[in-house]
Amino acid sequence: MKSSVITFPGSNCDRDMDVALKKFGFKNKMVWHNDAELPKSDLIVLPGGFSYGDYLRCGSMASKSKIMKSVVNFANSGGMVMGICNGFQILVETGLVPGVLLRNKYLEFICRNVFVKINNKSNNYFNNIKNDVLEFHIAHNEGNYFCTKDQLKEIEDNEQVAINYCDENGRIEEQFNPNGSIKNIAGIFNIEKNVLGMMPHPERMIDNCLSGEDGSIFFNNLINNLK
């Protein structure tokens, strides 16, 4: 399986993602934002970081960069595109997934582990995964998911909510919502479910020496689904 990670000026989780993808068997290539063409890939990842210094709105500049035209075309033809953290912010700015990510409700940068409940497994990202709840890491200042009432209805009708913030038992309640996101939403799909944007970082949970193995569950499952 071939993957590509896009590096924007200010990306800082691109190499972590490269390590994670390779660990679970992907042949990964790093792609510079100013390139026009994507290498042949089964999965494109937009990594976390602070692309363009978060100027104007997080992800807004990166969403207009040269490579993104190819990424949008790849996604629109059914290709798998996953955006993590800043990558999620870039995805919403391209319009590939609905909504926006506002500043965290309590105005603080949040850096800690959270639990997320998988809301929809009928897709290549979570199909066959045994767990309902995964422990991932979040590190963001703008992760407060927001959308209009009409959009929310559409998102729910089309089962586009991927994961919600919850406790270790999978209870989705306001007290387990770290950043003020509508309905504890931590990740969203496009309608076809080939594009996934999420704030948590699975690539930070791929080794017990770091902080856990739930990211390993995610990546192992992902590559098996793509084979």
Binding site: L56, V100, L102, R103, N104, Y106, L107, C147, Q151, G180
Partner: protein, 80 residues
């Protein structure tokens, strides 16, 4: 010609920064304030000298980059 644009958050979008500014103003003794909403201001100097064309171009810039229309409104406030 120079064009000024103001971008504001839509009414139903939470503005925690505006809230904190409001609280701080309150603490400083400005107790008459009902609400504070924080926005963005741009000055764009363009080679286009036709006001109608310049305004249309800036509107396009607002829609495509300067504002995110899910949460923000834009207003062209000055042309000269």
């Amino acid at each position: 010609m120079k064009i000024s644009v103001v971008i504001t958050l839509k009414k139903d979008v939470l503005d925690p920064q505006g809230k904190v500014i409001h609280q701080t103003l309150d603490g400083m003794g400005f107790e008459d304030v009902n609400e504070v909403r924080q926005g963005k201001y741009f000055e764009i100097d363009t080679k286009e000298n036709d006001p109608k064309k310049a305004k249309d171009k800036v509107e396009e810039m607002c829609k495509k980059l300067l504002a995110n229309l899910v949460i923000e409104n834009y207003k062209i406030v000055d042309l000269k």
